[in-house]
Symmetry: C2
Subunit: 312 residues, 2 copies
Amino acid sequence: MTATLVIGPYSDIDVAGLKSAFDPFFLDKPADISGLEQTIQSQITAVAFKGHASFDGGLMDMLPNLKLIANYGVGYDAINITHANERGIKVTNTPDVLNDDVADIAVGMLLMQVREMSQASEWARSGRWKNQGEYRLNRKFSGGRVGIVGLGRIGREIANRLASFKMDIHYFARTSKPTPDWTYHDNPVALAKAVDYLVVALVGGPDTTKFVSREVIAALNPNAIIVNISRGSTIDEEAMLEALEAGKIGGAALDVFQNEPNIDPRFYDLHNVVIQPHQGSGTVETRADMAALQRDNIHAFVRGEKLVTPVN
Amino acid sequence: MTATLVIGPYSDIDVAGLKSAFDPFFLDKPADISGLEQTIQSQITAVAFKGHASFDGGLMDMLPNLKLIANYGVGYDAINITHANERGIKVTNTPDVLNDDVADIAVGMLLMQVREMSQASEWARSGRWKNQGEYRLNRKFSGGRVGIVGLGRIGREIANRLASFKMDIHYFARTSKPTPDWTYHDNPVALAKAVDYLVVALVGGPDTTKFVSREVIAALNPNAIIVNISRGSTIDEEAMLEALEAGKIGGAALDVFQNEPNIDPRFYDLHNVVIQPHQGSGTVETRADMAALQRDNIHAFVRGEKLVTPVN
């Protein structure tokens, strides 16, 4: 007898979809695997995984017959992929369906930051517009120079949008890519020096940890804005916080953080930071697409068909 | 002897620029003209005007030798243009230099509204992300259907930006215009029925008062969002408020209001409305460009040269 195990915080609709498809077992987080009866542990051949809690090798090995981890989300950095490879466990993710939403949040956060839209809203709603006059002038958005760190599918969606704002597009990637008249930089420090806005769109995981390093942050100009829609791990957060607190950069717009949702409380005191609660892909439409793609991968596995979106 | 009169709320930089260029008289608002000595009134040949307070015919006639009103801003609906025409007074404005900024605010407000970015920010900053979990799912932005009411220079800038978000672009204008694959509607009710987002980019003034009428608002779908970056006068604000309060439309994103900055306090109670304090063109760069263009028009008048950006 085989069974599917669902791990993570799912919406009611997603839970209903998974129940009717697989009649699975449910757990809140990977660490809870250790609490399953051993007979159940050995029935599990597929896991539907969601969330950012670590799914490490030790937990995988409590499921001796595990063959598939179907991740909900494009980033699967919570899963120990090296161990999965050693065990011959296939991993799938949900790419592409969320690109638009994440790019939208990146552009929205940058607009909010540069045009001080939260502060201006508060100015109006608090009655200061009426009593003290116009909100202070801020900074022109269109026509700026933007640097995309990581020109994958999401990075390209962001660049395409910002190009319509007449921005001068620069990017870093491991190799130069076919693009419109965008400027390639072969290292992130050179990219940081060239731009007003630095948008981080890297894949998460050990290869990109603190890729936006203290040195990269120091290379930014004093008005530069950092945008992060990738993972909190991709930026040296301590170096960024110090630069923000010291006014060495202009601000930040962040959807992701180290240790989220227990983010560093120093962020709360920074008024030059737009904070979003990792809601890049958080729309009804896209989460439904992600859930469907996760289920499609499990269906394919159960039927012995080719996985839809394998990552290993 | 001739003189220039500066009317309106200018920044310190603008005041300095006007002083060094024209050594002018300064007033806060058009109504203050009546307080000027008659000898000064008759010296005034040019007015540098800024603001939304009414500059009516009676006030113009207190300046018997007035030949030019150089408006700061693209919209000159505060100026009685019919009376200026009768008197042979030329009026100039500051078009184009502010198109990008106003379009940026339109897109930024719509993103904030649809992705609930203010509410999500508050969710994170108040600690609810940490204590209560993810912010609720909201609505996909990219790929929506948007209707632009008034496809002038600013309307087109907005449409170009939203096209990069893969939106299906519809528009109303008096006549069909050369565009990419955008859909023309010959009346605003038909436009309202066809779209998810209605962006008002009309010229202000008597010809467009309440152009977005109760009937147009009633034609919107229950999730539709109204965006206004034109003038408060272009929308039947009472009908819009009623629709917002009754949940007959999804929300609004407004940079302009009737009677601003004394806006209707009912707006403050509406959480499905993004409010901005008429800051569309409010960047340091663009306001400097607007001030320079206003001065260039006065310089041209003083030298007897062709006006740079006349409107009549």
